[in-house]
Each structure stands twice: as C-alpha cells, then as structure tokens.
Symmetry: C2
C-alpha cells in the first residue's frame, strides 16, 4: 500500500455458518462471489476510475448474486414481502444517496446513487423511492427474480419458530458492502441489504443510515458495516471510526477494532470493512466469521470467511 | 447551571420570517408556543422526572400546535400527502427509536418512543410503522386534524412556482425538537418534523437519522437539529458535535458553533439545540432566526426568534 495506490475491500455479511457446517463446496461458492465483487471494482480502479464507481460496481455484483442478502438474494419480512435498503457516499464532497424499504429496482445501490446524483435529497423511502427509480429509467426486475427458494424456506422456518433453521446469520440478516480508495486519493463507501428474515415490515437497519452503516470522508476513512444494525445505529459506528481517526489520534485499524469491540461488549455482533486516506484497510468482526476480501494495486485478490489465512487468487 | 441541576432547550424550526415581516401578534404566538413546550418539559424535570420524558413532552406540545411543522401542522408533499418523521434518543443507554414517512398517528414522536421501548428495532418506516403504532394502541387522528389551510395554501403556491409565497423557511421545512438534562445527569433528545413543503414523496431528512438530526449520549451531549436536513446528514452533524467534545477537547458551545458554521460555509442553513453532561446549553443557528428557548432549575422560561435578547416569562 502506498499513498498513490488504490485499494478496495468488500464484505458479504457477518455471522457465517459455523466452520464445521460449511462444506468445501459452499465455501468455494462464497469465495467465488467475493472474488467476483472484488474484480468488478478492481478493473475500475486499475483503469484509473473513481472509488465511487468501484464501490458501486462491487455492490452491484453482490446484489446480482443470490448467495448474498441484497438485491436478488434479499430475505423476506414477516409479511412475506421483500424490502431493500442501500446507500452510497462519496468521500470527496460528502455527497450521499440512500434508499430504504424499496422493492422492484434490480439494484438498490444504483437507486441510492441516482438519489445522490439526480435529486436534491439524500434519502428516499418506500413508494416514493420506487417512483423516483422508475422516472430515472433504472432497471426493474419481476418479483420472480427476487424470489429465491432458500430465502422463502428460511422465512417459513423462522415463522415456525425455528430460529436455527438458518444457522448462517449472514443469510438471515446479512448485508453487502464495499469501500474504496482510488488513485486520486478519493474514498467512497456503498452498502446494500435485504434486511432481516422475518423482520417487521418497515424495519430499517444501519445500511442506509449515513454515519451508522455507511460513511465516507476523504479526510478520514470510508466504512461499510454489517451485522446487528440496531447497535451500529445507536453507536453511530461508521462516523465514530472517522471521529476517532480525526480527533482521537487513532489509526484506522485501532479505531475500527475499538468500535467493533465496544459493540460486541454490548451484545452487538457484526463487522465492517474500512479504508483510510492512505489506503490502509481494516476488516474487523466480533462474530464467528465475515465474508470478506480486498484487493490492491498488485491485483491479487484476497478472500476469507473465518479467522484464517486469506485465500489468494 | 450546576451539575446537579436540570436544563431543557427546544427549537421550533430554523429560518423564520424576516424580522420586518413578523407582526408583534405573530411573534407573540410563536413565543407562546415555545413557552408551552418548555413548560411541558419543565414540570417533568422539576418533579424529578427523566430527560427522556421531558424532551418527549416538549415535542408533543409542538406537534399539537398547528403553528409548527410537525404533527398537526405538518406540511404537504408535492403529491398533496403528509409524511412525518420523528426520533428520540436516551443518552443513558443510547436507546433509540425513529420513524419516517408516517401518516395517521397523532404524535409521531410517541411512535418513535414506542419503537424504542416496545420493539427490537430502532427504526420503522411507512405502513409498517403505522401498523406498529396501531398495534401498540397509540392515538390516531383523522386526516382533517392534520389538514391546516395555511399549509395547503403553501403547497399550492409552491407548486405554482411561487417559492416566496411562504417566506418563512421554518414553515416550509421546519422541524421541532428538544434536548434535556435531568437531575440524575441523564441526557435525551427528541425531534419531529413534517418535512418540506412540496418535497418528493418519500424524502427523509435528518430528523429521524440518529447522529444527523438527533443524538444523545450521557458521555457528551444531546442534540436536536433543524434546517436543511441533507447537509446535517452529510456532516453527521449531531454526532460530530459529540465527537468534538469527547475527542477534540471542545466545549459544547465551541463544538456546536463550529459545526453550524461549517454547514453554513457549504450552503447548509439551519441550527440546533444542545445540552451537555454538565447542563450547559447551546442554541446556535446560521440563518435569519430560529424559534427557540430554554429553561433551567429556576423555572424562568427564555424564548427568542432572532438574534435578540431572550424574552423571560
């Protein structure tokens, strides 16, 4: 890492299957999904593109992959509906776009980005956000596209009181996200989620809340979080990391570890990916695992699920 | 102010009528509305009640007063609908409740409080939040209750392109809020708004965004903001003030003035009320005026609209 280099880190949700319950074939699928998202962002950064475009592209790749709880793979609410949230933030001018409670647009993160670029607002929710997406020509998908059997089965089991039916927390209430630093030194963050299986309709977690699950400021860092969103909101987790760097004299790694540790001490499980203005990366989590990875200027893609050595590819 | 005392500060929106356009009778109405909200909270604090109850009660008083843009006096969206947002935060345990895009419940701040106290979530939006309010027995009001002629006329004029028809910015996109410190040293914040006249349906501002328009933490301060919400979200304004106190060594007054100044320099008009763990109060704004006031242990109620001496009552 050097200050003229670029960096991209992603997560596909915290709270994975217990290590013993994850087959080699399943693990390989997750590594492949992480790899795909990292490559989608890396090609942009390597060509001199922006951190914002790279973070967005990585999240789009996750949203299109039914393995992750965002976009196509979104989980179902208690009412059997799907409600998606997403946000993007450009650390250059602190521009922001966020959406919550939407269903229909194929890529919620692109709706968030359109809110940022084509509206005077920073957050739109529900039908108003969907109408905005339609007016701005964003791609929609049929309900069948979003209906994956595994998610539907997980809801039925959750409603039947079998919370252990889906032992993979990241699949019950996961999130996907990406943070990037481009060659020009700009930072960006993007996050997208389908929420929690069996959640109350209308529940919004930390993903679209700027300063909680998503934040980027060139003066400090870019952060995208995953996990028990309520805790990340209460602790303004993403902005807290930025503040500890700016005013507390902490490094990115110290600040990120401290915040995740404090959340964990209060019972809030989860993790995050972060990159600072020098291109340093942090990927802390306080639970069994977090689907995650990163790539830098050399193009080597690092991916991991548990507290293990990263796979290189 | 002393560390065993209590304090309450409120705002009824930033960006008032130009001083010359405000009749003495109009000004008297605003002072009376501020006075009523302050007294509603003061009786609770004086009796040894909690900061959370006092801040909530002050906001309920504003919501019931058609003069202010929250609850009964909520403005209309471009579609002719009304959508309300609110949040509460308890600085003691950083408990949080927030709602956005709701219509029907008489007091949105009480729905936010119910989310905090009776749900595992911290934020509910739209129909899901309304259904939650109904299930929890919160009071609803008829559409006629929320339909005030002045707000409806303001929308028609806004839609006709006459932005100056309502020169009082606080009436176009105001917010109400309260912050309190109780005798036990606990802090709390509450904020409620009807949004912006003529806004896109689904637009959410800073009021229900924890860390942006509402924040409370006993270790630092409680903040409730008003003004151009998009800027307060981008700057995580409320949490930024807390961070400057905790890590930056600033006093509440310095931190609040700095953040409002920085927002103003970027074109973001507005203000906020804040109280710190010692009971110090700050009420900065960077626009023509802000409906505001405060009361402490001596029970004297101070209210002001412009950069003027406070009225005592």
């Amino acid at each position: 890492m050097n200050k003229d280099g670029f960096a991209l880190a992603v997560h596909g949700g915290a709270g994975t299957l217990r290590r013993g319950d994850m087959s080699a074939a399943q693990a390989a699928q997750y590594h492949a999904g992480l790899h795909q998202a990292l490559v989608a962002g890396h090609v942009i950064l390597a060509a001199g593109g922006s951190a914002l475009d790279a973070a967005t592209a990585a999240v789009v790749a996750f949203e299109d992959n039914p393995l992750f709880n965002a976009g196509r793979g979104a989980v179902f609410t208690a009412a059997g509906t799907q409600e998606m949230d997403a946000a993007v933030m450009d650390g250059c001018e602190r521009r922001v776009g966020a959406v919550a409670g939407i269903f229909g647009p194929r890529n919620p993160v692109l709706v968030a980005r359109a809110v940022m670029e084509h509206s005077p607002h920073v957050m739109l929710i529900g039908e108003g956000a969907v109408a905005f997406a339609r007016e701005h020509g964003l791609a929609f998908a049929d309900p069948e596209y979003f209906h994956t059997e595994a998610r539907w089965r997980a809801l039925q089991q959750t409603l039947a009181g079998d919370d252990l039916a889906e032992p993979d927390e990241a699949r019950r209430h996961g999130t996907v996200g990406a943070v990037a630093r481009d060659r020009a030194g700009n930072l960006a963050a993007a996050t997208s989620t389908g929420g929690m299986t069996g959640k109350l309709p209308g529940r919004v977690g930390d993903s679209p809340i700027i300063g909680a699950g998503t934040f980027a400021d060139n003066a400090s860092c870019a952060v995208s979080a995953t996990g028990h969103g309520e805790f990340f909101i209460r602790f303004a987790a993403a902005h807290e990391i930025a503040a500890r760097i700016r005013y507390g004299g902490q490094t990115l790694g110290e600040a990120a570890e401290t915040v995740i540790g404090k959340l964990g001490a209060k019972g809030g499980s989860g993790g995050l990916v972060a990159v600072d203005h020098n291109g340093a990366i942090a990927l802390p989590f306080n639970c069994s695992g977090m689907y995650r990875g990163y790539v830098e200027g050399d193009g080597i893609v690092y991916t991991a699920i548990y507290d293990e050595s990263y796979r290189k590819s």
